[in-house]
């Protein structure tokens, strides 16, 4: 009897600890968001979102930074998404189990662990200098896409791996070719997971500073970009500039919190989008 009670006490203690830890993690998360919202909400206005910065970036808006970030996100996704998904398909569906496949896998994993500043340096050497794209949306997008490629490849691979082989075999037995099987049976089953991976990489890209530091981002612009060879302002870099090197850092502080809030809102929106896309594709499979 007492042994049983001891066991129960053990359980209660263990789960109590788990609960406490989980709550404190969630609590810290809310604290961060709350802190940014409280400090930043006062500067958010229509003008803040749609105007150019003025007076040494201590007033006005952050439109060029918003547009710049959107350009970089779009540019990097246009490159990274098809390349990443197709590589994932190739590795999982076509590449036979061999030392080469193991090598490709471990290289992809290693690439995912490379610090983003290193990607920035590499992007500067290759895209900015060697290929002479200059500091531009093009160079920045390519650098960012290199950085998120491993994430997209891995999610695609994992998504494909989770598809039961009975689906593939059933398709082959009906006279489908391998390509038809992948396109019409395997990929539709994977859409929810692939889309999730894609959108998570969007939020990763929109928050990165280091890869665009030497390849795309600029301190200040009072106009919007005209072509992919233009430099841009970007939200994370703008935030960095405002908090470290403005002309009047005290006056720029509210602007910095406003920028941070906009960045967080963009990332949250993207994550919401990911969830609804996931739900949409899941419902299609039901």
């Amino acid at each position: 009897m007492s042994k049983l009670r001891g066991k129960q006490l053990h359980q209660t203690l263990a789960f109590g600890t788990f609960r406490l830890i989980s709550f404190s993690v969630v609590g810290v998360l809310f604290l961060i968001i709350g802190f940014i919202v409280i400090r930043g909400i006062s500067v958010i206005s229509w003008d803040f979102l749609t105007k150019m910065p003025t007076e040494g970036m201590t007033s006005g808006g952050i439109l060029p930074a918003i547009v710049g970030t959107l350009c970089l996100v779009a540019g990097s996704m246009i490159v990274a998404f098809p390349v990443g998904v197709l590589s994932g398909i190739y590795i999982n569906e076509y590449l036979k189990e061999s030392w080469f496949k193991k090598l490709v896998r471990s290289m992809t994993n290693n690439l995912a662990g490379v610090p983003s500043i290193v990607f920035g340096l590499f992007g500067m050497a290759l895209f900015v200098n060697t290929l002479k794209f200059g500091d531009s949306i093009l160079a920045g997008s390519l650098t960012l896409s290199l950085m998120v490629l491993p994430i997209i490849i891995r999610t695609t691979e994992e998504a494909l791996k989770s598809v039961d082989d009975s689906m593939r075999i059933g398709s082959y037995a009906l006279g489908a070719t391998k390509l038809q099987t992948i396109r019409k049976v395997v990929l539709p089953i994977c859409y929810p997971n692939i889309v999730t991976g894609l959108i998570l990489s969007v939020s990763r890209v929109s928050g990165e500073t280091a890869p665009i530091l030497f390849t795309a981002a600029t301190y200040f612009l009072d106009r919007l970009p005209h072509s992919i060879f233009d430099q841009v302002m970007a939200l994370p870099y703008h935030l960095y500039v405002l908090t470290t090197s403005g002309t009047d850092m005290e006056k720029a502080k509210p602007m910095a919190y406003g920028t941070a809030l906009v960045l967080i809102i963009i990332v949250l929106l993207v994550n919401l989008l990911a969830n609804s896309a996931r739900r949409y594709f899941n419902n299609k499979l039901k």
């Binding site: 036979k96 059933g170 398709s171 037995a173 489908a176 070719t177 019409k184 499979l285 039901k286």
Partner: protein
Amino acid sequence: MSNLKVEAIDFNLYYGEYQALKQINFQAEENTITAFIGPSGCGKSTLLRSFNRMNDLIPGVRTEGETRVNGINVYDKSVAVDILRKQVGMVFQKPNPFPKSIFENVAYGLRVDGVRDKHIIEEKVVNSIKQAALWDEVKDKLKKSANALSGGQQQRLCIARALAIEPSVILMDEPASALDPISTSKIEELIYELKAHYTIIIVTHNMQQAARVSDRTAFFYLGELVECDDTKTIFTNPKSLQTQNYITGKFG
């Protein structure tokens, strides 16, 4: 001898070093049902998969001799597997409908075959579902997902899916072993009716099932075809002692 649909001639199959099928000679005539019986690992499923070359998907498989469908050696270099598999339908042990609508599951084989005409697709889908004795249960929910069906319905859907591409031979790998008794008897009735139009080979572990549905029965043991004869003969008067022991439940 009447029309031979499915044959194996001095057929050997190896998984790497291991010989899974030894010198198999087998024949099945048009519009008959043949049951493959034998203990697990005896090679009956392997032989079944050699008629539509599903074994190709397993690395390290090597074959000698021939398996023939409609008189053509399916391992001949000129045979394209996707075209072969349109002539030889297959139903698996576990129902494996695609996570698509009921309609799209049955239409799948036609679509990958390049059929575009909506009316042809619709007609064939409806006919196949009717032929698979599923129509009354699904006619109002063709657009609903196949995953919402019961296991037995899913298996009949998989049969309908195989029928839609109008094969002449249907291979069934323990098609009822994952189903409850009522679904099983429905599938058995269905198999019996399909005999009028198709040549059917069914792998089964269920002796009564083999006795109930099949015209001929082939007994396999350790990769060899021990005996193949009329089902009645196999079950009442088998030539080999091994067959008799297996059927009476003394081993296996």
